[in-house]
């Protein structure tokens, strides 16, 4: 286990390197650069060229790349070409918003998916099962940006109430913060819960057909005991894997949710910076997202032996 713990993060480096290198190159391949947008339609050639020179954008791409790698090695994530704020400053300001939204969405998705998946499996073929599966398919089918828009539009039309309020930090005003965050979290969580719920149901059904479950029931164990002690333990590893895979989905969903609900998070910031071709900011945000996804996958890996002692990470 310890060896695994030491070895696994080492794989972060090449993965992160490949992803951010791809992002570094790809964003520069998009037509138009940040200077075009800075001077927009009043692009006096002399000024634009001077600006491009000052920002180092006239350097060959490999020079820019090597310089950027050098900065990264010293922990400098870069500085915005537009605002001259550092990526670290932006991450500090916006990271907690996205983190909170992501955690809330993930929690809500699990609170919905696991119980509903179990109940649906337990009541296989019943109206409850059909209803819950329909819910899951509905959540998969409805785009969450539409859902979010409806949550804002309908109350405002019916009751003149706006649910997209002014964001406040969690620790400054917990109630005000939760009032605003709860709706995007529920929408994001509900959307993410659908596939987890379906996987939970499938796995529970599969495990329920195993001999040891039949044996457990034959021994006279209470149904709840069978589920908690035997079914879930065996059904959960693939579900946990899927939960890990949902994290990128939640991150990408947060881009939309932050836009619709006016949340000052990283997803919206990333979108703005792609539009503005603010290369250092896009690279820094991407690197962070890569780090989050890799970390979640590591946590998922570490959970396997906890859920199923037959799995040994050491081997």
């Amino acid at each position: 286990m310890l060896g695994y713990l030491l070895r696994r993060p080492a794989f972060f480096v090449p993965t992160a390197f490949i992803v951010v290198t791809a992002v570094f190159m790809l964003i520069r391949l998009i037509p138009g650069d940040t200077v075009d947008l800075m001077v927009q339609d009043n692009g006096y050639a002399e000024s634009a060229d001077a600006l491009r020179e000052r920002l180092g954008l006239n350097d060959p791409i490999y020079v820019q790349y090597v310089k950027w790698l050098g900065d990264m090695a010293t922990g400098d994530l870069g500085t915005s070409l537009h605002t001259e704020r550092t990526a670290t400053q932006e991450l500090k300001a916006r990271g907690p918003v996205s983190l909170q939204l992501g955690l809330m969405s993930l929690t809500i998705s699990l609170l919905i998916a696991i119980p509903v998946g179990i109940i649906s499996a337990a009541k296989q073929g019943s109206l409850v099962d059909y209803g819950m599966r329909s819910f899951a398919i509905g959540m998969l089918a409805i785009p969450n940006f539409w859902f979010g828009t409806m949550v804002i539009v309908i109350p405002s039309v019916l009751w003149n109430v706006s649910l997209a309020g002014k964001w406040v930090p969690l620790f400054d005003d917990p109630v005000g913060n939760m009032k605003l965050m709860i709706f995007p979290a529920i929408i994001g969580g509900a959307a993410a819960s659908a596939s987890v719920m379906r996987m939970t149901r499938t796995m529970v059904l599969e495990v329920n057909r195993q001999d040891y479950i039949r044996t457990a029931r034959a021994k006279g164990l209470a149904s709840s005991t069978v589920v908690w002690r035997h079914t879930l333990k065996n059904a959960l590893p693939p579900v946990v894997t899927l939960v890990g895979l949902q994290v990128p989905v939640i991150i990408s969903g947060s881009v939309i949710m932050e836009q619709v609900f006016s949340l000052p998070g990283m997803g919206r910031f990333l979108l703005d910076n792609i539009s503005q071709r603010d290369y250092p900011m896009v690279q820094a945000m991407t690197l962070l997202f890569v780090f989050v996804v890799l970390t979640v996958n590591l946590v998922v890996d570490l959970l396997y032996p906890v859920l199923d002692p037959r799995i040994s990470l050491g081997n």
Binding site: I30, V39, Q40, S47, L51, A164, F261
Partner: protein, 591 residues
Amino acid sequence: MSKDNYWLRSQMSRRKLVTRGGALGSGAAALMLVGCGGGDDDEDDSGDSNGGGATSSVTPQAVLIGGAGKVINGEEKYLGKTPTPGGTLRMSYQVDPITWDPHQTTSIHTHLRTSMFNSPLLSYGFGPKKGVADVEASANLATGWEQVDPTTVKFTLDPKAVWTSKAPLNGRALKSSDIKFTLERILKLPSPFAGLYTIIDKIETPDDQTVTMKLKQPYAPLFNYLSHYYSQIVAPEVVEKFGDLKTLESAQSLGIGPFELDSWQPSTQMTFKKRANYWREGGPYVDSVNIRNIPDANAVLAAARAGEIDVAAVTWENKDSVTSARKDYIVMQSLSCVAWLVTMRADQGVTKDIRVRQALSLGIDREGWLKSLYNGEGTIDNGPIQALWDTWRVPPGQLGEGDKYLRFAPEEGKKLLEAAGAGNINANFTFTTGYGAAVAEHPELLKDMYSQMGVNLNVNNMEYGAFVGAVMNSKPTYESMSYAGVRFMGDPDEMLWDMYHPTGSKNFAKVNDPEVTALLEKQRQELDTNKRKEVVKDLQKMLAVKLYYLYTPSFSQLDGWQAWTADYRNHVSYDTGGYLRGVWLDQSLKS
């Protein structure tokens, strides 16, 4: 003309498309958002009504709203009342300023905010008594000016003008050296606005209250340019202290305008407070202005319906959803300040031939355009001087030979194309979705119209950033046709020079026409306004024949504010502080 074309499709689609777009959360921010004309279903789909010339082309409606605007919902009950100070004006914006330095970007998102605490040397008139497009230069930091000779102008600063009481300015008086510093900064920086001021040869400051500008040649647009947002005056101490003006701290240290920047939470909100030592009479009346960052258009409307914000523009599509919730919500209609146009190269390719450009103009069914998209409201032509500026513009019907090319006459156009050896043109036509839903149908409508003339447009929708690089900044690789929105807010010279002079920054067509250039230079040097207007009018008549750009019809847009937002009136100049200075909150109307 066959009805089996754009008529039926566009009549059905536009309103529904935009409405659906809104309902489906089309909140993408466009850098040049405009409202749209139209409204109810079109009553007339006769495609045959468009070939009869252009003499009836300016509708009474268009003349009525012009630059003054017209209230079409609610009533301005506060008019004539004595302003009551106090309260917080609540507004929204979609995009954060990318920098706080007004001289280093052309982004309106910067200028809309920095104009709250900065101010230009001269200014325009604002408020309900003025039009949204009133761009007559008047006193501001300078009480007036004297044209000493054709190339020398002397400005006298207002002795009452003082900076913010915050450090490092500490409430000191405005000095002539501040003006000199600012203009020289614009010229020395890599500022996108430098080109407007290179005509200044020397700035002298004989005393603290006097600024004398020596020009290289007479320059009529100077006063309007000095009134505009790009000439916001800044103080040398602040630039020296912070190195530049990009940071929040530098913005918080500035203030010659009516407000001060109190706080900014990126992507959340910003608050401006009334300056305690503001020096001009007549406001500001509100204690503070809170501007929330709401990127999604539906969320803005929800906030307006809930009464959480005091000012929110509406569109024809969503106007009713706000006014049904708030019957007294004031909605004002005015012509759009944006000119939408087809650009093409005048120096190469088939469009170098004037007959091809004239044929392409004859292929646009302008009246049909207005009927199908905008309920027949607007004007059939909108450039080079937009319909909004009716005192400078030559309207259709008075363009002489140019009127001929505003007709819809595809058969005639076809003959011209054949005569030019350019039958069956197959052109790439670049457009950007970044302009928003308001004009999303224009390219397809144009494609349909041109298809009747044997011209095929391959419409290529680009992301805004890519479009700016490929088209707006006139990269050498740009060779085919495109559809763009441009606007000027300061002086007719801005649009004419930029788009038609060989050195113009928006000369997408690469126009280099000695006749046009001569008139462009003449209007710049003509200091008598009436005579200058005549030159500008001659120029418009010439351009209506040469057709380096094809302007599509003008349509109207809407603005909106709550019944209690007294004396509010938007202005095309982006001088937010200027036009919010006179706004007050009429609490008696809040019930």
